[in-house]
């Protein structure tokens, strides 16, 4: 195992998540893509901590920030979906786009 292998895995996870976030029409599925992307960020931060700067806790702090971002994204995302569904009965990004007009 090496730094490059871990980072390649993190990049792959990030790109798979980005593909989901770009292609999914359902808001909930889009959120799943974002979760995968943040999973990649977590792995990259852990890798940098382990292989480059284990003496400082900065990599660990970045993981805490990413994990918190995951929780916040899910909570706010579901609240937005609930509000959207209640007002327009929609849960798809394409249908929500008309709201900007």
């Amino acid at each position: 195992m090496s730094l490059e292998l871990f980072l390649l895995l993190a990049a792959a996870l990030f790109c798979v998540g980005l593909f989901g976030a770009l292609t999914q029409q359902s808001i909930v599925m889009l959120m799943m893509g974002l979760e995968l992307m943040l999973g990649g960020v977590i792995l990259a931060a852990g890798t940098v901590w382990h292989y480059i700067a284990p003496a400082t806790a900065d990599g660990q702090v970045l993981i805490v920030v990413a994990v918190t971002a995951m929780a916040l994204e899910m909570a706010i995302g579901f609240a937005v979906v609930t509000a959207l569904f209640r007002s327009r009965e929609i849960d798809m990004t394409d249908m929500a786009a008309e709201m900007k007009e």
Binding site: E4, L8, A12, M31, M32, I52, P54, A55, I63, M74
Partner: protein, 186 residues
């Protein structure tokens, strides 16, 4: 042994991550994402961060359980009994993601990474705690405020009736229009 565990977790993380967007069933997609994120937790443990790895495993298990409930609530075909596709612009997204991965991979393989500086502390968890309560206190305070703001925002977004429903558009109604009267003056 560690190498074998790494490869098993790595392959499982990628495959289950990709399957999230291939399954026809919402429930299966949720559990596929859970598998992928549990593998990420396992890999973080493999990197020597036991506490954060376990936190990720526990948090993702609960988060995905909640997500499964919302998936079944809002989306069709929770059991995957019919084929279903909800994707748009697949080719464009595949090109963007392929190019991004190639760029990231080139950067990862070509960058002159610095050598390891220092040794990991005996107790990384203690190190994290001391950092969050010391030099990284501002990060901790920001996270705390963000969590608090999220609680307020989610309640406001999810509530059915707001103050304009109760007190009118100009908020000048003498009595709130509540379906059930309550309070001192009822």
């Amino acid at each position: 042994m560690e190498v074998a565990v790494f490869w098993v977790l790595a392959v499982l993380a990628i495959v289950s991550g990709a399957m999230v967007f291939r399954f026809d069933s919402m429930a299966r997609a949720t559990f596929s994402l859970l598998t992928s994120l549990l593998c990420v937790g396992g890999l973080v443990v493999l990197l020597g961060l036991d506490y954060l790895g376990i936190v990720i495993v526990l948090m993702m298990t609960i988060e995905m359980a909640i997500m499964a409930v919302f998936m079944v609530m809002y989306m069709m075909n929770p059991a995957g009994l019919m084929p279903m596709t909800m994707m748009h612009n697949k080719k464009g997204a595949a090109v963007v993601c392929g190019l991004l991965f190639a760029l990231l991979a080139a950067g990862i393989l070509l960058a002159p990474w610095p050598g390891r500086r220092g040794r990991p502390p005996k107790d990384p968890t203690m190190d994290l705690g001391m950092s969050l309560m010391g030099p990284q206190m501002l990060t901790m305070m920001t996270l705390g405020m963000a969590l608090f703001a999220t609680i307020v925002a989610t309640v406001l977004l999810a509530t059915r009736r707001g103050r304009y429903d109760r007190l009118g558009d100009d908020l000048r109604a003498r009595r709130p229009d509540d379906p059930v009267r309550g309070g001192v003056g009822r």
